[in-house]
């Protein structure tokens, strides 16, 4: 995680309901990176220097403690030993230790490195799984972040993921073309799908002033039900199934693995890394990115400076939708290649908001936030299976971690840490 890079900024169009330069607390302000934006390594170094890495680690520690309480409190062994705590307290304490340590070990083994495996290459497969979860989150998170930086709040991730999935999936199962070409066409169609839907929002906002928060929320539902409908018609439904599920994707449309198959790391992840670089370039080096940030920070000044604000809004939405659409593409061509349903968005649209904000709307911040979420998701299954921890408890622990990471002042207060150096006020 690298929260080194400032905070998301810009009028969100929820009529100020968002993130404004003013919203940056003084101590954050002082830590705002000086443009140019740095790459991943640079910002990590800065993070350590400024003590951000420390607060992040401490945030995770607190969250894990909170999670431990939850895990222990609901563990049947702990509950039964609690009955005779005063008679033999060691029983309960060891039960707590067993379930808590077991759960977190499981999380680590399932999400990062399975040290129960003798072969380190096999042990690393866990990380591969996490990357599989992280890839669409990174892409969608980038999309949300780009919109944010431009002052638009895109809550329409769900709809855009579904569009991306449906468009790419459609090409992938209808067209059995040559290798690579098929994949490229399918991906491009998926990006088109996401871009079209988000572009519609942008155009509505530019033309009628319709608030994008409302429109994107509503479009999520509309797209969901329309996709569900289409999945019951010959357009998308697998003729071999009565269920609302699409046919499987053709082999040439599927993301090929870049590591041995057991790692489940495919070209999609490489594309996500490329997208991160691209977004980083877009926001910090490109002309359109410059305009987007200008509009996001101060739309009035941007307009006076000859920047066509409405066009930038629309462009930002389209770029955002394309990136979020890629998450959908990944879902059908990388994750569930055997046919998709209306649940193919897998909650990515909403998780991506958290990922984007957690990454402070900086491309590399989003990248690491996405990886963190991926680890949680992959590890969550092992936690469930190994320690019988409820999936919902895993979700609670995740949320708590995010809240603490997002609140460095709170973490510093808990640990009575001094303010980072060079901070005003």
């Amino acid at each position: 995680m690298s929260p080194a890079g400032g905070v998301p900024v810009g009028e969100t169009g929820m009529a100020g309901a968002g993130l404004d330069p003013e919203s940056i607390p003084p101590e954050e302000r002082a830590r705002l990176p000086k443009p140019p934006e740095r790459g991943p390594i640079g910002s990590t170094l800065i993070a350590i220097r400024d003590g951000n890495a420390l607060t992040t680690i401490l945030a995770v520690v607190i969250a894990l403690v909170v999670g431990a309480i939850l895990i222990a409190a609901t563990n049947p062994t702990v509950q039964s030993t609690a009955g005779y705590f005063f008679a033999r307290p060691t029983d309960m304490l060891s039960a707590i230790w067993a379930c808590v340590s077991g759960s977190y070990l499981a999380l680590f083994q399932g999400g990062v490195y399975d040290f129960s495996q003798a072969n380190p290459l096999v042990a690393l497969q866990s990380l591969g799984h996490s990357i599989g979860f992280a890839t669409p989150l990174i892409a969608a998170g980038l999309g949300i972040a780009v919109a944010f930086r431009s002052g638009v709040f895109n809550i329409g991730g769900q709809g855009q993921v579904l569009m991306g999935a449906a468009f790419a999936g459609y090409v992938g199962f209808t067209w059995d073309g040559p290798p690579i070409i098929t994949l490229i066409v399918a991906v491009l169609f998926g990006l088109l799908g996401g871009g079209l839907l988000a572009g519609l929002v942008g155009v509505l906002k530019a033309r009628t002033g319709a608030n994008e928060v409302i429109v994107t929320i509503m479009l999520n539902y509309v797209v969901y039900y329309l996709l569900d409908f289409a999945l019951q018609t010959p357009l998308l439904q697998d003729p071999k199934s009565v269920n609302p599920i699409s046919p499987p994707e053709n082999a040439n449309a599927i993301f090929f693995n870049v590591l041995p198959a057991e790692y489940h790391v495919n070209i999609g992840f490489v594309l996500a890394i490329a997208a991160t670089f691209a977004c980083s370039w877009l926001l910090s080096r490109s002309s359109i990115g410059f305009k987007m940030r200008a509009v996001g920070e101060n739309a009035r000044a941007a307009r006076v400076a000859g920047i066509e604000v409405d066009r930038v809004f629309t462009a930002a939405m389209v770029i955002s939708g394309v990136l979020v659409g890629f998450a959908g593409v990944y879902q059908v061509l990388g994750t569930t290649t055997t046919g998709f349903t209306s649940g193919v968005d897998a909650g990515i649209g909403f998780n991506a908001i958290t990922v984007a904000l957690l990454g402070r709307s900086r491309p590399w911040g989003v990248f690491w936030a996405g990886i963190l979420f991926g680890v949680f998701q992959a590890g969550g299954y092992t936690m469930q299976a190994a320690q019988n921890v409820d999936i919902n408890a895993v979700q609670v622990v995740q949320s708590v971690i995010v809240l603490f990471i997002a609140a460095p002042p709170l973490v510093r207060w808990i640990f009575r840490l001094p303010q980072p150096k060079g901070v005003v006020a």
Binding site: G110, D114, H129, G132, F133, Y225, D228, Q232, S241, V242, N243, P244, I245, P248, Q331, T335, T336, T338, G339, F340, T341, G343, V344, A346, G347, Q377, A378, G380, Y381, T382, Q384, A385, A386, N388, I391, Q395
Partner: protein, 332 residues
């Protein structure tokens, strides 16, 4: 495939779909079945619930890593991920509920249900009851979402009501589902109780005497819509009279689909090394689907109903009465 596993070390497992293990439906029932089997064997089952409808593969992978000997999965979306996992782990026995998988693997057992057969009885019983309490009798059904596992109930109910009408020359109305156009009334999800309640109220406004919500636990909303009124409910999946005491005073009967029994049987077979990959089709004949007893309504339904239902059941079993459901076309 697993014959060497001794009883104490056998590890039965179950994967749940996103609805969760408390959906009052297939997830809950498959968990119950596996747990019952585990108890018999003398072990405890492991369970994993998918967080989203695309990460089924990791769910399987996590159970494989736990060294499960059998894995039961319920939900149509599990099909291909299950096959992939089964191919990679030929030593583990897989049970696929509510879906048929291809290709046929030696370690995968499909379990499907001719739910429409039981629903036919349910529709007939509902029509008979409605006819006995009202001059303008009507039976209503609605679904959570338009999945075949849902509409197969609605098809059966519709056929049952129609059969009643032709047999008795009556005109009991069926609301909420049109078999021909395969269109009807749906909540849009399986969680919005308030909306379920409003839909049920709408059916009551239309004069419904019996309501059959095919929507997991959303019958609770319908129960509240009826309130102190005279209308009654029919449950689906489990015998709701028994599974949910809070609503039992309004449960006429239930259209039972014994996912639990199937999961339990298949798990036990795997534990005892007698697992086979033949598809299990739960129907009226083998008791895989059934109409639950009327319980407290025994005395309130027409006295001839029980025998009529027996006759129809026999007719369905011997093929003289056919139940059509587009949703059932893949059930060989």
């Amino acid at each position: 495939a697993t014959s060497s596993a001794s009883k104490s070390t056998f590890l039965p497992c179950v994967v749940g779909d996103v609805g969760g293990f408390n959906d009052h439906s297939f997830n809950e029932l498959s968990l119950e079945g596996v747990q019952a089997a585990a108890k018999q064997i003398g072990t405890t089952a492991k369970k994993v619930q998918s967080q989203t409808s695309t990460d089924y593969a990791p769910a399987f992978a996590s159970l494989v890593a736990q060294k499960c000997n059998s894995i039961v999965a319920a939900g149509f979306q599990f099909g291909d991920p299950l096959v992939a996992s089964a191919k990679a782990n030929p030593k583990i026995d897989y049970v696929m509920i509510d879906n048929t998988t291809t290709p046929e693997l030696p370690n995968v057992k499909d379990v499907v249900f001719k739910t429409s057969e039981a629903a036919f009885l349910g529709g007939y019983a509902a029509a008979a009851y409605a006819d006995s309490v009202s001059k303008t009798p009507a039976v209503a059904t609605y679904g959570g979402q338009k999945f075949p596992t849902v509409t197969i109930f609605m098809d059966g109910v519709a056929d049952g009501v129609a059969y009643y009408n032709t047999q008795k020359k009556k005109s009991v109305k069926l609301l909420g589902w049109n078999v021909k156009s395969q269109n009807g009334s749906f909540v849009g999800n399986f969680t919005d109780q308030n909306k379920s309640k409003q839909i049920a109220s709408g059916f009551l406004d239309q004069g419904a005497n019996v309501i059959i919500p095919v929507a997991g636990s959303l019958y609770q909303g319908a129960y509240k819509a009826i309130g102190s009124g005279d209308a009654v409910l029919e449950g689906v999946d489990a015998d709701v009279f028994q599974s949910d005491a809070t609503v039992k005073d309004k449960i006429l009967t239930s259209i039972v689909k014994k996912v639990d029994l199937a999961a339990q049987t298949a798990t036990s077979l795997a534990a005892s090394g007698k697992f086979d990959n033949s598809t299990y089709i739960g129907d009226l004949k083998n008791g895989g689907v059934a109409l639950a007893p009327f319980h407290d309504y025994e005395s309130k339904v027409p006295s001839s109903l029980s025998s009529e239902l027996d006759t129809i059941k026999a007719g369905i079993i011997d093929g003289s009465i056919t139940v059509d459901s587009p949703a059932a076309t893949t059930l060989k």
